[in-house]
Symmetry: C2
Subunit: 471 residues, 2 copies
């Protein structure tokens, strides 16, 4: 441990022991990773253990992800007793599944028993069905029942994410009763941030922050300390919805209720934070057509996620080609058209992507709803007009200088038309998908690109012909 | 309030009172927004108040954002006593600043005094300097000092985000002492989830979850309950870093320390959740060149954020045009080249964007570091080869059928070359920006597009000429 007076260390690193392993961005240092890699390669398990031992479980998980597959297994074998439930829970889904598939069912069951229900479910849910059955058979009956009932809920639902361990007490208890109850009941979880107050049918009637309990005298009734307004999460709610509620209402934990309104579990924000991050980050991946975009995903899945969008893009490119083809004679007469036409399409594509990205984010964060769609569309058309005029002046002048003033006028007008079209499409396409209950991030790109490409070529070539430039 | 037996309601809505206002996605219903809008327009402030009163502060903030500017001010005037600090804190930055600029300094000061330091700082930090000074002058001296010292830290740093109110006690206290202390000191905050244990120089030596305190007998020393490993946040740390640590280590709260290692504030996850969401979501906006992409941003700022990328894109389009221009003679001889060349560029652009989006996300989440860059590059080149061959076969066959087998061969080869180039650029460009300490999401797009466009036209037209197709 570093000297407590070493304030430079204190400043730069989250934990006093991490100085040698982590850089200033809290990433594992390449030199450290190489040292572990070398130790593993040389079969020096003692050295590998010694290097890894001071790390936080989240950093051990990161380390395993950074290594290549054979090194990863060798390291895991060298540090078995550091491979705690926490490390496993922090691993990337694909890496974890792969490692679990490689272990015998009994070993997976032993790991699952160390974990909270939610983490155990995560460990088991993506195993092959026969592996899953084998692991479940190895679990003790109580854990098995808990995990099986979680698995009965849809994937990515609150029922899969929740932990069953929680503290729920009746309304008539006093603060003193509660403290005594918590001290006496050794089997209770220590992972809770709020107490749930329930009625005689086990339905939540309020929640109580622990700080309120600690600040109140023993004789006060919980009913007078608790907050009656609460955000209840239905067990079937999708995780994206759950994440939005945690964020919107600034929740630390929330009660999960079944169809009868009975308390069946709790969600805590530390589990939701990952989902908030994933859901917010996935838009960039979805819009680009990269699917989940996980660098640990098996190659075959990555290929199939991406190639379908490339093929869809091919379809839109063919439409653009047909438009160009229709103007083949004009291009033969004036090859400058071929030289300049990608400019119009490309600028429009970029403007469309800008507007689409903004619209998709605003929809995802519930900032854009039916109530303000018209206003946002008007706003985007204004931005498009300003951008369109600016770019058109630049392109038009340059073209007039290099080619002819007429061609400059034609391209300038085509650019304005295409940027306005892009602004319109960038709002309307994602909004339309949202109204159809489709994720606007997934399919908007292809349509917006198709529209801006086609319009780019059509406006430019069409105007050139219409104004007699090629005649 | 709904009948507690009405379980359908319970299931669909977070709070039992929200049934008429929120839809199943927890967004304000258009009909509800229209009702408020109508009440405001008709000057029926009583009705407006009645409608808004049951809403959660976060929903009141959403409602204000959905309205147009004049309606927004009229509503705020109609519901002044519902415009609590919580509502103000939940408002979009631009909307809040605009509303605050419209209020007299004394009114802003009154609102600021209701808020925790962190929210008060947020309220004041973006005001015009003279407005800021006027508001500060209206504050009582203690609040002013707290806010001024927060404003002395850099924007978006932990010092700006932290709240000063926290519970810190010495190590020698017992659980019983702590509970007595918490009950007696009425001025203490109730917003805390962990207790910080400090040494005699006020430096944190451990943290203690409240559940641990509640589960332990009175006589136990805090030193035996607390956890000594802790994540300390330096006061100057950037909020993006802070968000990553909260996420990585699953923190609920964390101690903020000054240069001397002394405890100066705390951060709680409910404040960090917004940042996690923003930072993860902004990549999509940055990559598309849409800047912050906030729909409430003033038009002028939106224009200037976007037009610069359109102009940069114009630059890359000019390079592509120069390449096409060099092959002008070939296009005149074979106009099919002009028809097909956008296909090659467009597919390459899409493939490049896919890889770039994946790389940028992996860098942002610390999954891609120097230790595994080579492996990820290899992986992406394999994906590119698989995608390239698939798309090339489709394009090649179609072209062979419609035009000539030779042209089919040329375009197929050009597509493979361009998708491989795109895969390479999609990894190398963002990694390069990251190594140069630049945000890879900001500038990668322009470069990747430039590379795929240029290579698309060059490979296709160059191969066509080289294979004698035009000659």
């Amino acid at each position: 441990m570093a000297d407590p007076d070493d304030t430079a260390l204190l400043q730069d690193f989250p934990s006093r022991e991490d100085g040698e392993q982590l850089d200033e961005d809290n990433r594992l240092k390449p030199a450290f990773v190489d040292a572990v890699r070398d130790a593993v390669k040389e079969g020096d398990t003692g050295r590998a253990y010694e290097l890894v031992e001071p790390l936080h479980p989240a950093d051990i998980a990161d380390l395993l992800e950074l290594l290549e597959k054979p090194e990863r297994y060798a390291l895991a074998a060298a540090i078995t007793d550091l491979m705690t439930g926490e490390v496993i829970a922090e691993l990337n889904d694909y890496v974890r599944d792969e490692m679990m598939e490689a272990l015998p069912a009994a070993a997976v069951a032993t790991i699952a028993e160390q974990l909270d229900t939610d983490d155990a479910v995560q460990l088991i849910e993506d195993l092959q069905p026969e592996d899953q059955r084998a692991v479940l058979a190895e679990l003790d009956p109580e854990d098995r029942a808990a995990i099986e009932s979680a698995l009965a809920y849809p994937e990515e639902s609150a029922g899969r994410l929740m932990q069953r361990e929680l503290v729920a007490v009746p309304e008539h208890m006093s603060v003193g009763d509660l403290i005594d109850y918590l001290r006496e009941r050794e089997e209770l979880t220590t992972e809770f941030w709020e107490i749930f107050i329930v009625d005689h049918r086990h339905r939540p009637v309020g929640t109580c922050q622990l700080s309120w309990v600690l600040r109140s005298p023993r004789h006060v009734a919980l009913a007078d300390v608790m907050k009656r307004e609460q955000t209840l999460i239905p067990v079937a709610m999708d995780q994206e919805e759950v994440a939005l509620r945690f964020q919107k209402y600034g929740l630390i934990s929330a009660a999960v209720v079944d169809e009868g309104g009975r308390l069946v579990g709790q969600l805590t924000v530390d589990d939701i934070v990952h989902i908030i991050q994933e859901e917010a980050g996935e838009d960039a991946l979805l819009m680009s057509g990269a699917g989940e975009g996980d660098i640990n995903e098996p190659l075959r899945e990555t290929y199939s996620a991406r190639v379908r969008w490339l093929i869809a893009n091919l379809g839109t490119a063919v439409i653009a080609s047909l438009i160009i083809h229709a103007f083949g004679a004009a291009i033969e007469q004036l090859v400058a058209l071929a030289v300049l036409m990608p400019v119009v399409a490309s600028i429009g594509g970029n403007a469309g992507t800008q507007t689409m990205a903004v619209t998709v984010r605003a929809i995802a964060t519930n900032q854009l709803t039916q109530s303000n769609t018209r206003r946002i569309l008007t706003r985007e058309m204004k931005v498009a007009l300003m951008n369109g005029v600016t770019v058109a002046v630049l392109v038009g002048l340059a073209t007039a200088l290099v080619f002819t003033p007429q061609l400059g006028g034609v391209i300038a007008l085509a650019v304005v038309i295409n940027i306005l079209t892009a602004g319109m499409a960038g709002v309307v396409v994602p909004v339309m998908f949202d109204r159809l209950d489709q994720d606007p991030a997934v399919a908007s790109s292809v349509f917006v690109t198709m529209i801006t490409d086609s319009m780019g070529f059509f406006a430019f070539l069409g105007l050139a012909v219409a104004t007699g430039l090629t005649g």
